[in-house]
């Protein structure tokens, strides 16, 4: 190379190289994602301090935890007083049970566990991307992208088992990712057992983990059928033994409550709407993830993440069930973050290889004229990768609009609150099953909650409340789990006569309704025998307080 050539190159060199622009934009993308992380931490802190139900049904998860802390199963006969049962597997509540022994009955530890579970998931996503691609920045962006998802944000810090399931699922696939390549038999066995234990833990946290089990075993089968079958038999035996044990211990209620009663009406429009919402929010990451799956399909070996992604996206179709919702996409979002991160790492570090096959032969003929543009294309790709994360950051926009510094950002972007308590959330309700949550609670919500508790405390005898928190805080027995009664009633598995007899005898001094998720005949009985005396708004819902009617209304079916 002559001096002349060098001087010409120096003269034509761009002011900023593509790599420098990539780094600047990547730092900006990480800053945006870190901003979402602060919103998430603020939301978690806000909910952990809130002593009442925030999302419908949280209280019943607390009741399950209390029952486990006493050594009781929550899978009970709902035809008998107090008409309570649970439809969720036990693990999350078992993990939370020691907190009941130490701190008593409270929401904060369940919410904290859910929140910590999402942090562990994000960390596992980052590790998976770092291990596969070696790019620390993109690994960090992938982990934070998971936490920035509106869906993860909504349900992460709730007293709900869903995100703990996702944590176990993610840990399972990250552990099992390279299991077939481990040469040492003993080490391979340990890794395999650890990974399968995580799947089992996910399944006994929430039934939805079945899709991850299917995806993982499909991967293991394709890679090494013999090993997959042998471990599959062991896995089925252990999982089945636990199932049979719980079923025997609960005299069949485990099967009835968690499996049979969970067969709910399927609403196709709800599924389609939620898929649209998922793509609208996460499309910037879904497209690279899908491209990596296609690449692995035709030019490399299929990874466990590809199987997991396909299984999780397909399983999200169950979000159309009555009672299901956008949370059913959380597993698919975790898989998307891993695959898109690996895709981005490969682009940045030029880690693509195309072995000869009919597609590469056809492709090379078509792409030959573009060969001189290869360096320019790589430069463009270097800049495109952080733009993907920035685009994602814009798509998932959610922040409080009245708290600095978020209010400055909201003002700069011209964003107006579109949710409760001055909160903006790009994930709006476009379909049924969408949880209207994410806003931060206020002192007024807290005061309203205590007002309801005071009403319950002042009432002698039993109180029928649609949310468990009020009864727990007032020191009253929690009676019924409304959504579970509705699940059972919809499947013809609930005999409401004993509960209706109590309502008709005006046994309850007060009834507190929120979403009115009781079976229809129970609601009709309430209407005949109780009248609305007060409505207390809390957290965006109107809690209806009802007291016995002086003269009950006539039951039309009597005539």
């Amino acid at each position: 190379m002559t001096d002349l050539t060098l001087s010409v190159r120096a003269k034509n060199a761009p002011l900023l190289s593509a790599l420098t622009i990539h780094r600047i934009l990547m730092a900006l993308a990480l800053l945006v994602l870190l901003g979402y992380f602060t919103v998430y931490v603020g939301y978690a802190q806000n909910l952990i301090a809130f002593p009442f139900d925030y999302d419908q049904g949280e209280g019943f998860e607390l009741v399950d935890t209390i029952l486990f802390s006493r050594g009781e199963f929550p899978y009970k006969n709902t035809d008998l007083y107090p008409f309570y049962s649970s439809n969720y597997p036990p693990l999350f509540h078992v993990i939370a049970a020691p907190f009941v022994w130490i701190f008593g009955e409270a929401y904060w530890y369940g919410r904290l566990l859910g929140f910590i579970g999402t942090l562990i998931t994000a960390l596992a996503i980052g590790c998976a991307v770092r291990r596969a691609g070696g790019n620390t920045w993109i690994a960090a962006a992938s982990g934070f992208a998971f936490l920035a998802s509106n869906t993860v944000y909504h349900i992460g810090p709730l007293f709900r088992q869903h995100m703990t399931m996702v944590m176990f699922e993610t840990l399972a696939v990250v552990i099992l990712c390279g299991v077939n390549e481990i040469e040492d038999k003993r080490e391979r066995r340990c890794v395999m057992l650890a990974g399968l234990a995580m799947i089992l833990a996910a399944g006994y946290t929430k039934q939805l983990a079945i899709a991850t089990a299917v995806g993982v075993f499909a991967f293991l089968f394709i890679r090494q059928p013999r090993r997959a079958v042998l471990y599959g038999i062991g896995f089925t035996l252990v999982g089945g033994a636990i199932f049979v044990w719980i079923n025997l211990a609960t005299e069949g209620q485990w099967w009835l409550q968690t499996i049979a009663a969970n067969v709910n009406e399927f609403i196709p429009d709800q599924t389609f709407g939620l898929y649209r919402l998922w793509f609208g929010l996460h499309g910037f990451l879904i497209i690279p993830a899908a491209l990596l799956v296609i690449y692995e399909l035709y030019f490399a070996r299929l990874s466990i993440y590809a199987f997991w992604f396909v299984a999780a996206v397909a399983n999200a179709a169950l979000s159309g069930k009555w009672g299901a919702g956008d949370s059913y996409f959380a597993t698919a979002i975790a898989a998307t973050c891993i695959l898109s991160g690996i895709f981005a790492s490969r682009v940045v570090d030029r880690m693509w290889t195309f072995p000869p096959n009919y597609l590469t032969r056809a492709g090379s003929a078509l792409l030959k004229p573009f060969a001189p543009l290869r360096p320019a294309l790589h430069s463009a790709a270097l800049i495109a990768i952080p733009l993907i994360y920035l685009g994602y950051g814009r798509a998932v926009l959610h922040l409080p609009t009245d708290i600095a510094p978020y209010s400055w950002i909201a003002d700069a972007l011209g964003v107006q609150p579109n949710a409760l308590n001055n909160f903006y959330d790009s994930a709006g309700r476009i379909a049924g099953g969408y949880a209207d949550i994410g806003h931060w609670t206020t002192q007024a919500d807290m005061d309203a909650g205590w007002q309801i508790v005071e009403r319950i405390r002042a009432t002698p005898g039993d109180v029928l409340s649609e949310e468990a928190a009020f009864n727990l805080l007032a020191g009253k027995t929690v009676i019924t789990n409304p959504t579970q009664l509705l699940n059972l009633a919809n499947n013809g598995m609930f005999d409401s006569s004993a509960l209706i007899a109590l309502i008709e005898a005006q046994h309850f001094g007060l009834i507190v309704l929120r979403a009115q998720f009781y079976p229809i005949d129970v609601l009709q009985a309430i209407d005949r025998n109780y009248e609305r005396t007060e409505a207390i708004p809390m957290n965006g819902f109107e809690y209806i307080l009802m007291q016995p009617r002086a003269v009950p209304l006539r039951n039309d079916s009597d005539s």
Partner: protein, 79 residues
């Protein structure tokens, strides 16, 4: 490791090839497609024909078959 030429699926060194995975996807896709159609033929009490969820499932089954078909020419490359 590649698909064993002896075809011993349960031997310790067996792994699926792209061709075998393609065949599996082709057959299962076709099977699923006709099974979904059969729901209407067998369940004579149903009304309204093929619903939106069924249409999506049919499309997914068809897509699985097509992907399977395109994998078959990739031969012995490990899946």
């Amino acid at each position: 490791m590649q698909e064993s030429k002896k075809g011993r699926m349960f031997s310790p060194d067996f792994t699926f090839s792209k061709r075998l995975l393609g065949l599996l996807m082709l057959i299962s896709g076709i099977g699923a497609f006709f099974s979904i159609l059969a729901i209407d033929l067998i369940d004579v009490g149903r009304e309204g024909g093929i619903g939106p969820a069924q249409q999506i499932a049919l499309a997914a089954a068809l897509l699985t078959s097509v992907i399977g078909l395109t994998l078959i020419p990739l031969g012995d490359h490990p899946a």
